[in-house]
């Protein structure tokens, strides 16, 4: 199966056809009457030392994807290959051993730390479970880790409630780093933080990545944060990846109409910039009953949108080197015009790039 690849080097993480359907149960015997397609055939790679951003609005399946990679949620179908090992078929004990190499940082620094454990105990737990260090050696390691994330070593004896949100997130990072992972799933790691503190944590994460060669799957809804930290970005909508490209390409020239609308909705912190905005009407449809064909077609603003969009499920195809897009109306496409016509298509694919308000200060009003 063809899937987005970057370079010739071997990916650290390879996700193929990852799917999660949550059954909708009704009636006395809990008969499944349908399914919420939270994640639907998602495929991507993460290279060693790379940051892949995963963006989308609430309910698009980005967190579920992250949790399936960690096996915190069992996938319905698909494979997750980490350094050549298929995680989905791994037994509990083997998976636990592998968790030393795959760690997670959660969004909420308030609920992800056990309030009854001291900071030292929280960080030490991983060292003990994976038999990395014991006794005095573990104490020293805990202090080192705290200092590495910008906290004082003596904080080890304090409890989470004594810290601010930003400091707690640093503790969460220290806990993840304790077992020396090569890959970290970061699920909205800075969303709960104030701007000035958010910047501190982002810089810390970038420093750690540089020093330790970490790879991140950075899940976030804030597009400006993702642009800042990610090398490549995948955009999800209703459980599918609709665009995947190098960060510069995606933000400079988004090709999927959904990405275009999403980017144009980001407020620009410059009152002199007048943005031309693609305002999406309506809400995201329910993943229990997604639209046929292209899941975005009911809200799409592409001028060539026609009946074929409601019929054909657009494949994620390469429109430019390393730039993958799921849209049959954005040329070039492998879905021939003849096929589109058979499906009721009336408008030929045309290149559509609405003027986005990506800062080009205007002199006129």
């Amino acid at each position: 199966m063809s899937a987005p690849q970057t370079a010739a080097t071997k990916p650290l993480l390879s996700v193929r056809g990852l799917t999660k359907h949550f059954p909708i149960r009704k009636g006395l015997f809990g008969k499944a009457t349908g399914a919420v397609r939270a994640v639907d055939h998602v495929s991507f790679d993460v290279m060693p030392g790379e940051t892949l951003g995963l963006v989308g609005e609430s309910g698009c399946g980005k967190s579920t994807t992250g949790r399936m990679i960690l096996r915190l949620i069992e996938p319905t179908a698909g494979s997750v290959e980490f350094d050549g090992i298929d995680l989905v078929t791994l037994g509990t004990r083997q998976m636990r051993a592998l968790r030393r190499r795959i760690q997670v940082i959660f969004q909420d620094p308030f609920s992800s730390l056990n309030p009854r454990m001291s900071v030292g105990a929280i960080i030490r737990e991983g060292l003990t479970i994976h038999r990395i260090a014991e006794g005095a050696a573990a104490d020293t390691r805990v202090r080192q880790l705290l200092e590495e994330v910008g906290l004082r070593g003596e904080y080890a004896s304090r409890y989470p409630h004594e810290f601010s949100g930003g400091q707690r997130q640093r503790i969460g990072i220290a806990r993840a780093l304790a077992v020396e992972p090569s890959f970290i799933v970061c699920d909205e790691p800075v969303s709960a933080l104030d701007v000035s503190v958010q910047a501190q944590v982002i810089n810390l994460m970038q420093d750690l990545q540089r020093d330790r060669g970490l790879a991140y799957l950075f899940i976030a809804h804030d597009l400006s944060v993702v642009e800042h930290i990610a090398d490549r970005v995948a955009v999800m909508y209703l459980g599918k990846i609709v665009e995947l490209a190098a960060s510069e390409d995606l933000y400079r020239e988004p090709l999927m109409p959904y990405t275009q609308a999403l980017l144009s909705a980001v407020p620009v912190a410059d009152p002199t910039v007048k943005k031309s905005r693609v305002v999406l009407t309506g809400d995201v449809p329910s993943p229990a009953n997604p639209p046929t064909g292209c899941v975005f077609h009911p809200r799409c603003q592409h001028p060539a949108k026609d009946a074929a969009c409601a019929e054909i499920v657009p494949p994620l195809e390469q429109k430019a080197p390393g730039h993958w897009v799921a849209c049959i109306k954005q040329p070039p496409t492998g879905v021939d015009w003849a096929i589109q016509q058979t499906a009721g298509g009336t408008k030929q694919p045309t290149r559509y790039l609405p003027v986005l308000g990506i800062p080009t200060p205007s002199t006129t009003n």
């Binding site: 609005e57 701007v195 642009e227 144009s264 620009v268 943005k275 009407t281």
Partner: protein
């Protein structure tokens, strides 16, 4: 600027807690003109939400508005009037839009009932009339098929729709001022764009003044005409929006602007403000920002800066206003020096 609709003078709201007196809002003065949109910006704990609650007189014990505070609204001092008179103002002349629409709405009443209730309380009249008005308002805020939607409960609506209902409820009595406390923070970015557009449209249509409270400088840049920046329970800078983004004076405002990653900008390291917002029970001596500031000198440690006039419409609470040469000598902030010591 037009004649001020709202003038706040020396507002102090303190909370008497076990850990000491939290001076959450500590001497705030500003005004909002008729038809104007003013942004109140700051990070968590700076006092912006408590300011909003004080204007509505919704501060609960152990918090209270201190004597000497004045909130002049249409010629009346809202601090002095009794609760009955305040109830006639609240919801009718000053309305509030909260951050989380799910908690702002009552889950056991239909949205139509909840809007109609506001009408019946403030204007009286028949149930049918109030209901008609509710349906009308739902249409104004862009809810499709409002007759049916009015019969639905909050959980049946999406987040964006719920926020539209909350706005409909705020606007139903045609108030002179709307206080919007983080109205789009809980929403996705595409829905946020819809709601901000709606607020702009409605303001143009009804001439309502808006006090927009937010931590998001992007939202501020696109929505308001004048910005007030709060830190440590005080106003630290105030200016028209273009001026603030072009010539921010206060080191805190500059820090906020630089710390924000922006789409389309160079991918280098983000600037940060070291340290965190101090607790309101224990504001630092002198300038409240001095321990996190790269320019702070002896004066900042001991002398609390007044709001200096920087330009005709621009004020800043920073001693750099009178000693501008100090800007040439940035240094490591005290909070970092202490931590590494």
């Amino acid at each position: 600027m037009a004649d001020p609709l709202l003038t706040v003078r020396d507002l102090r709201t303190y909370f008497y807690t076990e850990n000491g007196v939290a001076r959450s809002v500590d001497g705030v003065s500003f005004s909002v003109g008729a038809g104007e949109t003013v942004g109140l910006v700051g990070e968590s704990g700076c006092g912006k939400s408590v300011t909003a609650l004080s204007l509505m007189r919704l501060v609960r014990p152990p918090g209270r508005i201190e004597p000497g505070s004045a909130i002049d609204f249409k010629g009346r001092d809202l601090v002095a009037i009794d609760e009955k008179a305040m109830r006639a103002v609240r919801g009718a002349q000053i309305a509030m839009v909260f951050q989380e629409p799910m908690t702002a709405l009552n889950p056991v009443f239909t949205v139509g009932d909840q809007i109609a209730e506001v009408v019946r309380i403030h204007k009286g009249g028949s149930r049918q009339e109030a209901w008609r008005r509710a349906v009308e308002m739902l249409e104004v805020v862009g809810i499709p098929s409002p007759e049916q939607r009015a019969h639905e409960y909050p959980h049946q609506l999406s987040g964006g729709m719920r926020q539209r209902v909350v706005i409909a409820m705020a606007l139903v009595m045609n108030p002179a001022l709307i206080i919007a406390d983080e109205p789009t923070t809980a929403l996705d970015v595409t829905i946020q764009a819809q709601i901000l557009e709606l607020l702009r449209e409605l303001q143009a249509k009804f001439g309502t003044s808006i006090l927009l409270i937010t931590h998001d400088l992007g939202v501020v840049a696109e929505t308001v005409s004048r910005v007030i920046v709060m830190y440590g329970g005080e106003i630290v800078e105030e200016a028209p929006v273009e001026e603030l983004f072009k010539n921010a004076h206060h080191p805190y405002t500059q820090g906020l602007l630089n710390a924000m990653p922006q789409v389309g900008h160079e991918r280098d390291r983000l600037a940060t403000i070291p340290g965190t917002v101090p607790p309101p029970t224990n504001w630092p001596q002198g300038c409240r920002f001095h321990d996190r500031c790269s320019y702070a000198w002896e004066r900042c440690l001991v002398e609390h800066p007044p709001l200096y006039q920087i330009g005709e419409t621009h004020t800043s609470r920073c001693h750099l206003a009178v000693e501008p040469d100090r800007r040439a000598q940035p240094h490591t902030p005290f909070v970092v020096q202490e931590a590494s010591a």
